[in-house]
Every structure is written in C-alpha cells, then in structure tokens.
Symmetry: C2
Subunit: 327 residues, 2 copies
C-alpha cells in the first residue's frame, strides 16, 4: 500500500508544499488570507460514491473536487485548501485509480485550490464498490459577504447559470443499460470561477446553492423554507435540454429533481438582476444563465410552478432521492 | 434518508452553531483563534474502516474523532473543528448507527472540539461494509511551536506515553474467532488533552507522532528517515502488557507493529526529559510514560533494538500492514 501511495498519489499531486508535508500527518498552512477583521473560516465535507466512476465529461475525482469547491463557493467563501480521503477496494485497476487521481489534480489546479492533505484506506474485495472519495475543504469568507439560505425576500429573482439536470441524466445513461443513447454530458465544474467575479460585482446577492443531489427542486424548497417565503418558478423559462426532457418523460422522472454539479440557484435582489445576468452570461460557466423565477411573498415556505397555460403546480420535496449514487 | 439524518444526526450533535448551520452546506467559523502573527492553520483528514465497528473500550465513532484530533495534536496544533462524512450501507441497524454517532459526540466534547459540518451517503447493500467514517480536522498551531518529524537530533530521548499495541491486539481479538480471551482494551483516546499541557511546559519537544497503523516501529522508522538519524530502542524498557506479548507470540506478530490509538512517540531534547516525563506521568493519558530509546547518531535513518542480553536487532518497516482494517 505504501508503494501504491507513493506511485500514484505522490506522482500526481505534484504540489511542492504537499510533497514536503507528506511526512507529516497534517498540512500546516499560512493564515495570511484570514487576517482581516470579521473574515470567517468556511469548512465543508462531502463523500462521493457515484457509479460509474467515469461518466461523460467527468469522473469521481473531478466530481469530488468540484463538489467541495462548490459547497464553499456558494457560501461566499474563496476555496483555498482541500483534503482527499480514499477508500479503495482491493483489486481496483491501477490505471483507473491513476486517471481519477490525475483528474482531481487537474480540476484542483483549474479551480485554484490546493489538495494539501490526504489519506488512503484499502478494504478487502467485496467490502466497498471500487472507490469512494471524501473531500473536505477550507476557505475564507470576506466580512462584506453575507449570503445565507435564509435571506431570500419577496421581490427577489431566482437565477440559474445553466441547463437543468445534465449531470443526473448523463450519469443515469452511463450507468443503466437502458438502450438509450444521447450526447448528454455532466455539467460538473468548479463554480467558484463564476461566483468569485459575480460576488465582486454583486455583493448583495442573498443566497446561492448548488443544485446537487435532489436537484433544483429540493434546493429551492430549502431556500423557501429557511427564508419563510414562496418561490414561483416560470416553467416555460426553465433551461432544460430536449434530450433531458425526453429521457425524463420516458422514465417518469422530473428534471427539477435531477442532480447538477455545475449549476446553482442564485437569489438576487431585483435591482441587481440585470448586472448579475450580464456578468454570468459573459462567463463560460454561465452562458445559459436565465431568470427562472421569483420570490413572491412571505409564507411557511413553498415552491410552485407557473405553467405555460396559466396553471399552477406545487413542487414539493420528494420523499426519497430519485436516483441513488449520483454523486 | 432525510429522516435518517434528522433523527440520528441532528439529535445527537446537539451543538447550537451546528444546528443553525445545518441548512448551509458548510460551517462558517470565527477566526479569533487565528490572529496572532505567525500562527498556522493545521488541516488533516482520515477515513476509518475498522472492523468490527464496536470493540473493547471503543467504536468506529470514538476512533474517528480521536484519530483526527491526534493527528492535529501531534503536529502541535490545538484541534478546533471537525467534519464528519458517513458512508452507510443500506440496512444498517439504526440503534448501532445511533450509538456510534452518540459516541462521536461524547468524544468530541471530551476532546474540546466541535463537529461543525457533515455529510451522509447511503449505498446499496453489499456495496460497503456497514459503515465508513471520514473525519477531517482544522486546528491552529501557535507560532512558538515548531514540531517536525525531521527535527530529531543525536542525544534526544524517545518517550512513549503508554502501553504498546493495546488497540491492535484488542481489535484483533474482537474480530477474529481465535478462541483467545483477554481483558485487553483499545487505548483509543484524544491525545490533545495530554499534549496541550505538555507543549506548554516543554515547547522544545522536537517531534511527536501517534503510533497508529503500522505501530511504534513504523513511526520511529519514519522519524529516523525524515531526520536522518539512528534511533536505538531499549527492548527491556518497552511497556508491553503480558497479554499483548502472549498473543503476539502465539500468532507470530510483532507488538512494535501493532496499531495504537492513544499512544504516541515523543522525541525530547535530553535536558527536558525529566520535566516531560513527570508531566506525562501525572496525567491520566500518560501514567505509563517511559523513556524507551534515544537518538544516537546521524545516518541514513535506521531503528534498532538493544536487547536485554546486549544484542542488537534492526527494526525495519515491514513490507505490508500486519493487520488490515485496524483503524
């Protein structure tokens, strides 16, 4: 196992501070970023159990970096450092592991974060499903940023930065032997690249939430409940690819509950919507950005869809998860 | 699953800041501890796959808290915040999960750390072995503390704070159906409670390392190699319980390579040894503290045992791990 660690993990995470710290059981990091008065430390964790390990336009490694980077970014934090914990089933192909770890390193570099500490555990064959990865992340939230899931107010607009359901639909097609084929790809991406310039221009954004497991539907329900408001979604405005829509119709799924890994909901005060939209659309990760809804009133917290024909439909949090092991 | 999270995890981690932040995907923490000039942030991660989940005097939950707290503490950090990521096999008994989570909360309280962020993933039956836990930890290292695995120097003494091999022997007996019985118990404990007062009195300690997977033998080899010194262990001085010794003799194992979860090696300059030893022995986690060896000379890094009969025996890092899934 030491050989495995040396060969695969050290060669790929070619980060000088990491290399020199691997003899220690922890990373020791400078605190220069944290010294302004009122700055807060952001700390988050996520385990990834997606199957298959490799899917169109991503793999568990890329996902593990993006997922944690995005959790930090939507809280208004600048992601700084990641940890990576691997639970490996005995007998996994070295080449596969190598390509996943290399994908993590590449994604971390793109996102501007450093993987500074790690751990590997090997379990016997049959005791885990090939590979699980945990990433935890540390970032800093400048004192002027105060995004909160409970901050949505009547009059605010709901924006999304991209298509709905791409990740969920792409992983499902890669996994299940459905006889369906499409060019759908996961939207997996480090949203900090979009959110960082956005918050610099629009610091009054009320809240952001990446629409992962549970999809946009669950995220908006969480915001509505935490903020005690009603959210109205304009159904004809929702950016859903025809392929995703078709797959959902065939399988009886709701695209609003499909997982996304590079798409977030943004609650923006009305007076900043134009600016936010323009900025998002001019960024590679926000080209499909749209206003898809609004906060209408204070309430116990509910989400409904306004349909093209003038009807209304409640969008409630479903009892279970539509698709297991999607992230 | 939401119900599972609500019922088990929220009820037990009854920590007000955690409760109010559970709606967010990350914890937002004050930075008051980090403001002194030269302080460093410590960040570490560990996944726990021990089997059985419950063993004499501990369980995977207690282990997951102690393991990460100890990794921070031996680097000289004050442990502050932990994350907890759970990978749960479908069908695990709720009562078992509850008792493990409750044990985590209790241990965190004892250790004075707060579990501030978490994540749960459920995988299908057969895709994981009941429960895996990842904990990551954040702490702060005061500028005056400079412990490093590469800092051992000829003349330094090697101290341990307790018996050797208790955790490994206890878990092995609990797991394997060997027909052997003993009163051996895991030494699993948060070492920060011992190390914090120790560093306050003896800030010149060169390095510390908790002797987990691989045991004291591997840890001392790591220190010897990183510091480019030779370490001599006095075999008759090693505190090994007769039960552990007997089990090792029956099974052909080496106690120096058994895992420990509440025992660390301390490399201490000769002039501070008396003070360090006295302080450790007066603490519940260091009652068995002893000088067990010394750093003899600069070299390529080697460890040898001086036996009771005046002989010498090299102690090399073994090729594999003696016992899998011990932590």
């Amino acid at each position: 196992m030491q050989q495995l660690i040396d060969e695969i993990f050290l060669s790929v995470f070619d980060d000088t501070p990491l290399q020199s710290q691997l003899k220690e059981d922890q990373a020791q990091l400078p605190l220069a970023e944290f010294t302004a008065h009122g700055d807060r430390l952001a700390f988050t964790t996520d385990s990834f159990v997606v199957t298959p390990l490799i899917f169109p336009c991503g793999d568990i490694g890329k996902l593990a970096v993006c997922g944690t980077v995005n959790d930090l970014a939507v809280g208004g934090a600048k992601p700084l450092y990641l940890s990576a914990g691997f639970i490996i089933e005995e007998g996994i192909e070295f080449k596969l592991l190598e390509s996943i770890v290399s994908s993590m390193a590449k994604t971390a570099q793109q996102a501007g974060v450093r993987i500074v500490t790690g751990d590997t555990k090997v379990v016997e064959r049959g005791m885990a499903d090939q590979l699980f990865i945990n990433t935890s992340g540390v970032g800093v939230i400048p004192s002027r940023i105060q995004v909160k899931v409970s901050a949505a107010q009547p009059g605010d607009k709901i924006l999304v930065n991209g298509f709905i359901g791409d990740h969920g639909a792409a992983v499902m097609l890669a996994r299940e032997n459905l006889g369906l084929y499409s060019d759908l790809r996961s939207d997996c991406a480090p949203l900090s690249l979009l959110i960082h310039p956005l918050l610099a221009q629009c610091p009054q954004i009320r809240c952001m939430r990446d629409a992962t497991r549970g999809g946009l539907g669950v995220v908006l329900n969480e915001i509505a409940k935490a903020s005690q408001v009603t959210i109205e979604l304009f159904e004809p405005e929702l950016p859903i690819r025809p392929q995703t829509q078709a797959i959902c119709e065939i399988l009886g799924l709701e695209p609003l509950f499909l997982a996304n890994e590079g798409m977030a909901a943004f609650v923006v005060p009305a007076q900043q919507v134009e600016q936010a939209l323009q900025l998002m659309q001019s960024h590679p990760l926000g080209q499909q950005a749209k206003v898809v809804g609004q906060v209408t009133e204070t309430s116990q917290g509910m989400v409904y869809l306004s349909t093209a024909y003038g009807g209304k439909r409640m969008l409630e949090t479903p009892y279970g998860v539509q698709l297991p092991r999607i992230c």
